[in-house]
């Protein structure tokens, strides 16, 4: 066991060069350490410059995948780390910082300056308001349209239903109790247009029940297909559909 002066750890910390246990220890030290926070922020900015120098060209396929994926990924709610402000003021003098150290280990990740973003992985119950509203409006618009028609079937151990509004030209896929895809896989939705399959977006792999606004217009699609694809989705189906639902007339 080595004893470590936490102040000397700022460099290793900013470069992500601390093993997990030491990182946690350092983060619990941060709130009581005047100057550490500033130094960590500066070092993180310096490290980012080392990163910028490695810039390469991303393939267009990667762009397509990422932009496709975000259409189904919920954003977290904006509020977080509300204690952070109060803590900055509290970190004065040894006595206070000792108290802070003892009291705040649990909340430590909230103080870690630039590192704070890395640890916010908890799924939020609340979707970010504006986006949620816009998306929900569109979904609700289709579901409640006077001309909405639906067709359902058993899909992956649960139920899937296609709801189509001809006047809006859009469709929503509603699922309940579907098995979650295996790790690294995702359910992808398709419009079957004549003999062709046209991607209509991805389902959220983290939820077994959801309503997905299918991407693009229904147009002449006669059916909606669901396939299992590698994470990020595919431009064309890579396997036979696990379900094919007729688009209700």
């Amino acid at each position: 066991m080595t004893t470590i002066d936490p102040h000397a750890m700022t460099g290793a910390y900013a470069l992500h060069a601390l093993p997990d246990d030491e990182r946690a220890a350092f983060e619990s030290h941060l709130p009581g350490c005047e100057g550490c926070e500033q130094e960590v922020a500066e070092f993180a900015a310096t490290a980012a410059r080392l990163g910028l120098a490695t810039t390469v060209q991303a393939r267009p396929a990667m762009r397509e995948r990422v932009l496709g994926r975000v259409t189904t990924v919920r954003q977290v709610s904006p509020e977080a780390a509300p204690v952070e402000r109060a803590r900055r003021g509290a970190a004065r003098g040894r006595a206070v910082s000792r108290w802070a150290l003892a009291a705040c280990v649990a909340a430590a990740t909230a103080f870690a300056g630039t590192a704070v973003w890395q640890y916010e992985r908890a799924q939020d119950a609340h979707q970010q308001a504006a986006r949620a509203d816009r998306y929900a409006d569109e979904v609700a618009g289709v579901l409640t349209a006077p001309d909405a028609r639906s067709h359902s079937a058993r899909v992956a151990g649960g139920t899937g239903a296609v709801v189509v509004s001809a006047s809006r030209g859009r469709a929503v896929f509603v699922s309940a109790g579907m098995r979650r895809p295996s790790h690294g896989e995702v359910y992808q939705l398709w419009f079957a247009d004549g003999g062709k399959m046209r991607s209509a977006g991805l389902m959220d792999p983290g939820r077994s029940s959801q309503a997905v606004l299918m991407r693009g217009p229904v147009d002449g699609a006669s059916a909606v297909g669901v396939t299992v694809e590698p994470a990020g989705g595919s431009p064309q189906p890579t396997s036979a559909p696990i379900a094919l639902l007729t688009v209700p007339a």
Binding site: G11, A17, A47, A48, L52, A53, T55, T71, Q75, E120
Partner: protein, 194 residues
């Protein structure tokens, strides 16, 4: 000695990434496309430098970019620029990945660890990137050998300071100090403020 000459553009100024992230935080997918175009190459570059494997680095870069979308509402401009936030996340994820991969494949290949040339191949044709590279190279040259080796092994290879110490046959305390004073020198040379 300080050499605070700043040649390249301020990476966060054009386009206004903070503004883009703000719009992304409101669920704007077009803004996200703009943000992607501005940062994807750097995110991928960081992942590739650390992971050295094209498929894996692309996978990690995609995860990072989706994570940027997901957590944009929590981005706090008062904690640092958007590019710092994004590249910090990219480096963290790349390092996590390289450690989980290498934990499985016992990493006693000292020779590989000591291959410490940062991977600057296949960079974009963009002038900014080349200037940034030249500047980083120039500033890395102002470090002592031990500082430079420690910093590059940690950042570009994703080694922990303990692994750096082992690779360079140095005491732990020395490596910690070299990382810190190496970064201080780099920070001053690059003219970084936070």
């Amino acid at each position: 000695m300080k050499e605070a000459v700043f040649i390249g553009r301020n990476p966060s100024v054009e386009p206004d990434l903070e503004q883009l992230v703000h719009e992304v935080a409101l669920g704007d997918q077009d803004a996200f496309a703009g943000l992607f175009d501005a940062v994807a190459g750097s995110v991928l570059g960081v992942a590739r430098a650390v992971l050295r494997d094209h498929a894996q680095s692309e996978e990690v870069a995609q995860e990072v970019l989706v994570e940027v979308w997901r957590t944009a509402p929590r981005y706090r401009p008062d904690r640092g620029t958007a590019i710092n936030w994004i590249l910090t996340l990219a480096h963290r994820r790349a390092v996590d990945r390289v450690r989980s991969v290498e934990a499985a494949a016992a990493r006693d290949t000292r020779a590989a660890l000591l291959d410490r040339t940062p991977e600057f191949d296949q960079v974009t044709e963009q002038v900014e990137t080349r200037l940034e590279q030249q500047q980083v190279r120039r500033c890395l040259r102002t470090l002592t050998d031990l500082q430079r080796q420690s910093v590059t092994l940690a950042y570009y290879r994703g080694l922990t300071y303990r692994e750096v110490a082992e690779a360079l046959a140095l005491p732990l305390g020395t490596v910690k100090t070299r990382l810190r004073d190496g970064l201080i020198r780099l920070r001053d040379c690059l003219g970084v403020t936070a």
